[in-house]
Amino acid sequence: MINTMECAVDAQSLISISLRKIHNSRTQRGGIKLHKNLLVSYVLRNARQVYMNEKYAEIYRMQQYEEVMTVCNEIQELNPLDLAEDCEEQSGDCCGNVGVSEPASLCCALLPVSHLAAVQSAHIQAPSACSAPLSLQSDEVCKETEPSFYRSCCAEAYPVSNCDFSPVNNNLHCNKTTVLDLDTHVVTTVENGYLHQDCCASLQQCCQSAQSPAKKRKVDFEYYISDIEEVSDFTPCKRAKFEDCSYANSEHLDTSNISNLISIFGSGFSGLVSRQSDFEQALNGQFCSKQALASLGAWTRAIVAF
């Protein structure tokens, strides 16, 4: 990982400084210096990586906050009496606070990457070979994540032009990234350069379709995030009911769909391999922090493989 501590200038400033240098080099005497521009493009790539990582983390934190707030608001709308009963019933089954919060922090760190994975896989792999409800879920989730991902990366990181820094192109150095396809659960290796081209090419589509799924997405995430993070006593089963009510489309979500969602985004990332066991764990409300920690490494290796 890049050590950013030494640098007072943040990634965004470095990006703009680098772009300025590239721009100025076009008018320098003696013609464009290939060597210098190549080196500047390396700095640009490094800064972009750091910037995007920071952006993901920020987006995730914002989402968490928004969703927590949404949950709170919606709780207030519900009959407080019903909830209180549920709490009392389920308190015994729930994991201790400590156990729950640990995976949450890990998830926070991981989620930006899993976002990337979700988006990349949605992009690279055609959604297929999965159960209908699951694919629907995944697709929705994946598509819904796209607008925020692309907007943040394309709109802000590249103020000059849409991914075209000619003669310096982002495709100059294609990093190989290992991604997990959340639809097929297949691990593949893609090239970042290729991804980026697609990213900007479909920016229009993403932005256009951004509106309606947003609410749904919030609800989806809030579902599992609060599940992981909150100190509350809600169990996944109860969550399912709650989710049912708040969906505008009122699609029927059975427990298997929800458990798949958990296994994908929940702390037990070994759901990649054995979704079933995770499903059971999740349903029992026993998020095991140790398991999360154990699978963390595998997930990180699988996804963050520059």
């Binding site: 890049i2 200038v9 003696g30 013609g31």
Partner: protein
């Protein structure tokens, strides 16, 4: 020769100021910025090239040949305009006249020959002396006016008479149109017939006599320029093996190629690379690992590379890591951000060996230059400044305070002048005489004569 022999390590040598060449005023004309410095094979001649396309050659004159201990001075021998600014109309590009490199040819006769190159064109110059001139023409006056033949009554034979020494430089060959990208290196082969020229992506082999064609021996241009990941930064022939050359890359690797293997040396014989220390990773890791200069040792067993922060000595028989690494200015590692903003991080420092390969030298900022004694494992920092330029004044070693309490005589990192940089240095092939180029001045230092 004088009694200044390349002795042991730098602790034996006390460096003294000898001369400084160039304008004194602080207002530096861009054309006067020195861009290359090179001694010839005997050390008698010292050539400099500047941004204005001029070459100035200094000749060593022994003050007093009879005395064993004597000082030698370098005085201007010849000055000529090597390259002019050009304009490529097809690409709408201006071609700078700045001299990137000068290399001397081994002397074969009375005349001296050197190769000088700018970004696109290499020229072979002949520097010859004329100290006699014919006098007594029948049809010409002394001042050159023609005499009316009708007034000539007697004939005489013109004779050569001594005249003031005149040094003439004439271009003998022009090697043009062979490089699409900017030439960064030229290197003369030990076969005394061929030489190579390297640009960002290609290396060409020339015959010294033939200007209308060259052989391409290395080509790293990818089929799709978007896949470009590295460029060639320097290249040099082996001092003794005429089939071997090396080239360094912007990724910090050096490739050794053998021309006997194939016509196109894209596949290297040896790859020299040191793995990166992951704890040092930063935004600028790629920039500071780019090699700015590569030089073989005189004995041909080692080569030295210079990257932004260090000098590395490689044994040609060991590819996986250098045998020695010297930190030139490690205190700059925490300043890389600022150095990136002001473009200093792109400065290309050169390095050089002394005559017996025991000491290496390279430049730094604030007009400091550094010497590393390989045998004694000592290093020294000296400064080229007008303040320390009294005749025969011994140079005092300098020290940079990286942090914490600054001792007396130390200079803190924040007070270093990054506009005063020493990029080009040269060491006399036999003696302890060094030429150090600041922005527009050339300093000559010598071993103290006891």
């Amino acid at each position: 020769m004088c009694g200044v022999r390349a002795g042991g390590g730098s602790n034996d040598v006390q460096w003294c100021f000898s001369q400084v060449k160039g304008a004194i005023d602080d207002d530096v004309a861009e054309a006067d910025i020195i861009s290359t410095v090179e001694f010839n094979h005997s050390g008698e001649l010292l050539a400099t090239g500047d941004k204005g396309g001029r070459v100035v050659i200094f000749q060593q004159e022994i003050e007093n040949k009879s005395q064993p201990q004597c000082r030698s001075e370098y005085n201007v021998y010849s000055t000529f305009q090597s390259h002019e600014p050009e304009f490529d109309y097809l690409k709408s590009l201006e071609i700078e006249e700045k001299i990137n490199k000068i290399r001397w040819l081994p002397q074969k006769n009375a005349a001296q020959f050197l190769l000088s190159t700018n970004d696109k064109t290499i020229k072979l110059w002949k520097i010859s002396e004329r100290d006699k001139r014919p006098e007594g023409y029948n049809l010409k006056e002394e001042d050159g006016r023609y005499i009316d033949p009708n007034t000539v009554t007697a004939l005489r034979v013109p004779v050569f008479r001594p005249m003031d020494l005149m040094v003439e430089a004439s271009p003998r060959r022009v090697f043009a149109n062979a490089h699409t990208y900017h030439i960064n290196s030229i290197s003369i082969n030990s076969d005394h017939e061929t030489y190579l020229s390297a640009d960002d992506l290609r290396i060409n082999l020339w015959h010294q006599e033939i200007t209308d064609r060259s052989f391409n021996i290395v080509d790293i241009k990818p089929a799709n320029m978007e896949e470009l990941t590295e460029v060639i930064t320097a290249a040099e022939f082996h001092p003794h093996q005429c089939n071997t050359f090396v080239y360094s890359s912007s990724k910090g690797t050096i490739r050794l190629c053998d021309m006997r293997e194939s016509a196109l040396c894209d596949k290297y014989s040896k790859l020299f690379e040191e793995p990166e220390d992951p704890s040092n990773r930063s935004f600028f890791s790629e920039i500071i690992s780019s090699i700015s200069d590569v030089k073989f040792s005189h004995n041909g067993r080692y080569m030295m590379t210079r990257d932004y922060l260090s000098v590395k000595i490689w044994d040609l028989n060991m590819e996986n890591r250098p045998v020695e690494t010297y930190q030139v200015h490690e205190y700059l590692r925490s300043k890389l951000c600022s150095l990136y903003e002001n473009d200093c991080i792109f400065d290309k420092f050169e390095c050089c060996w002394n005559g017996n390969d025991s000491v290496v030298m390279t430049g730094s900022y604030n007009n400091f230059f550094r010497m590393f004694d390989r045998g004694q494992r000592r290093d020294m920092t000296l400064e080229a400044s007008r303040e320390s330029s009294k005749p025969r004044q011994v140079l005092k070693p300098r020290k940079v305070c990286a942090g914490g309490k600054r001792k007396k005589d130390e200079i803190s990192v924040d007070s270093l002048d990054f506009n005063k940089k020493i990029l080009h240095t040269a060491w006399h092939p036999q003696d302890n005489i060094i030429a150090v180029a600041t922005t527009n001045n050339l300093y000559i230092f010598q071993d103290k004569v006891n």
